[in-house]
């Protein structure tokens, strides 16, 4: 089957940097770059700073007086209380409480920005255009591309080019300027490190990338490292760890459902979600750390310590280069969802010793107020 894959504005730049290109969510994306490898890119991100092309993600602009109110009809997030200059993690839910997509919602002075996953980009746009028609003007910012600069040196590196990011704290957003053009900047990311996500016009994205890479602390990193970093940071990936058949309560994302929203109980999937908050769930997402060096992967079966009873399944797993051990996320019977409980994971027919652990595997290094 020949797929019609899209390219981001940085495609030629990736090729120039020796990227290994792979299909991902309908895009041709860099997996890793020449001269490094996933582990090296992962470690560089935790030690210095890495630049990720995340222009495959959708940037959707919502304008109008009642955007927050509208968003509350399709998400369980509290957006009436989202201050200007702040961002919130949320998700679109369906009538069964399943997660249609997980999103970032930012409140800028004159509009909201919703950043959505690449794979759900078109569906999310349609969903918002249909459901928010009475609340907001919904436009995809196709002419903007998103970059992520992540790592302990990210702040210093970006501030050399866009000085007013230097005082931003985690989940703050700001409309700034890059080469006399608007730059939408949020202090957030998908690695657990301090860092920024920067949207600039497509025709300026390569210039911004080149300027950032003039700094010896900054290197490119691909989707491979992005996946290992987010797993160590305990952040779920939509399509793997969360989807339309898992609820926020099962995924331990209840914190992202506003208290007021829980009381008012007026969002898609409210019956199931509120019942799960009150009575618990049959499955819960946990972190799984394996005692050997053998990575456990998606769909591996989790068993109890005796190896007799099947208690859950891995939804994503890889090798965590910072903790130097395999890391995984999975769903298990809540009776076993306690930090330190011994379990087994079935890999190539063998039972591997593993432990349920609290997330994240690697502490977050966000700069908070």
């Amino acid at each position: 089957m020949i797929e019609d894959l899209r390219r981001t504005p940085l495609y030629d730049f990736h090729i120039e940097n020796g990227a290994k290109i792979v299909p991902f969510a309908g895009f041709e994306m860099p997996l890793q770059y020449a001269g490094a490898g996933i582990i090296a890119e992962h470690k560089h991100t935790r030690e210095k700073a890495s630049l990720f092309d995340v222009a495959h993600m959708g940037i959707i602009k919502l304008e109008g007086e009642e955007v927050a109110k509208g968003l509350e009809t399709i998400t369980p997030g509290d957006f009436l209380s989202l201050a200007v200059g702040k961002q919130k993690y949320s998700f679109f839910t369906n009538e069964n409480g399943g997660i249609i997509d997980d999103i970032m919602v930012a409140n800028y002075p004159n509009f909201f920005i919703v950043v959505v996953n690449a794979a759900s980009r078109n569906n999310d746009l349609l969903l918002m255009q249909q459901k928010l028609a009475n609340y907001a003007k919904v436009t995809e910012l196709d002419d903007y591309a998103l970059l992520a600069l992540q790592g302990p040196m990210a702040r210093k590196a970006l501030a050399k080019i866009i000085p007013d990011v230097s005082d931003m704290t985690f989940m703050q957003v700001r409309e700034s300027q890059f080469m006399n053009n608007p730059a939408l900047i949020s202090c957030s990311g998908y690695t657990g490190e301090d860092g920024f996500e920067i949207a600039v016009p497509n025709y300026l994205v390569e210039t911004l990338a080149r300027k950032l890479l003039e700094n010896p602390d900054v290197k490119m990193a691909g989707l491979g490292a992005r996946d290992t970093l987010r797993l160590e940071a305990g952040l779920p990936l939509h399509g793997n760890d969360i989807d339309a058949f898992t609820t926020p309560v099962e995924a331990q994302l209840t914190w992202a459902i506003g208290k007021r929203r829980q009381i008012e109980g007026n969002f898609p999937g409210k019956e199931i979600i509120l019942a799960q908050i009150a009575n618990g769930t049959d499955l819960l997402m946990v972190g799984i750390k394996v005692d050997s060096k053998i990575p456990v992967r998606s769909h591996a079966v989790i068993k109890d310590e005796t190896g007799d009873e099947e208690i859950g399944m891995i939804t994503s797993g890889t090798f965590g280069a910072t903790i130097n051990a395999p890391v995984a996320l999975g769903y298990i019977d809540p009776a076993f969802a306690t930090d330190g409980i011994n379990v087994k994971v079935v890999v190539h027919g063998n039972l591997l010793d593993a432990k349920v652990v609290n997330l994240p595997f690697v502490p977050h290094n966000y700069v908070r107020k």
């Binding site: 997996l31 890793q32 490898g37 996933i38 582990i39 090296a40 491979g224 290992t228 050997s292 060096k293 053998i294 990575p295 992967r297 890889t318 090798f319 280069a321 395999p326 190539h348």
Partner: protein, 125 residues
């Protein structure tokens, strides 16, 4: 005198007198990316041509390695247990997998020469 041959499954075999050393090619390690674990068979076990003999776990995925020849294992590369990255850094030397006594030397003759293998890689890309 030793001779090196290759398989379509991207293994190499060096035959030195009656011992065959087996590993995966540079091309294979490039495709796999960072190797984090190699599951090897044990000394004394028998491997059978074209059957699975090892598993290479990279950050990205698990890949099976097939035996290029049949024979009895006389040594395994124990360095890979602590330094799996040898497969990336030195795939055709320090990152070797196993040494066997081949059952049938004629199997070796059917494998590809270096030139044939290099052409084979070009064709599949």
């Amino acid at each position: 005198m030793s001779q090196i041959k290759f398989t379509k499954e991207h293994e190499w075999v060096i035959l030195e007198q009656n011992t065959a050393v087996i590993g995966i090619t540079n091309h294979a390690q490039e495709q796999l990316g960072d190797v984090v674990f190699v599951e090897l068979p044990q000394v004394g076990e028998t491997i059978v041509k074209d059957k699975q003999m090892a598993v290479v776990e990279s950050v990205k995925a698990a890949s099976e390695v097939y035996a290029p020849l049949s024979g009895k294992i006389i040594e395994v590369n124990s360095s890979l247990a602590t330094s799996p990255e040898l497969v990336n850094n030195s795939p055709e030397k320090d990152g070797w997998f196993i040494k066997i006594t081949p059952e049938n030397i004629q199997e070796f003759d059917t494998l590809m020469t270096k030139e044939e293998y290099d052409n084979f890689i070009k064709e599949i890309f």
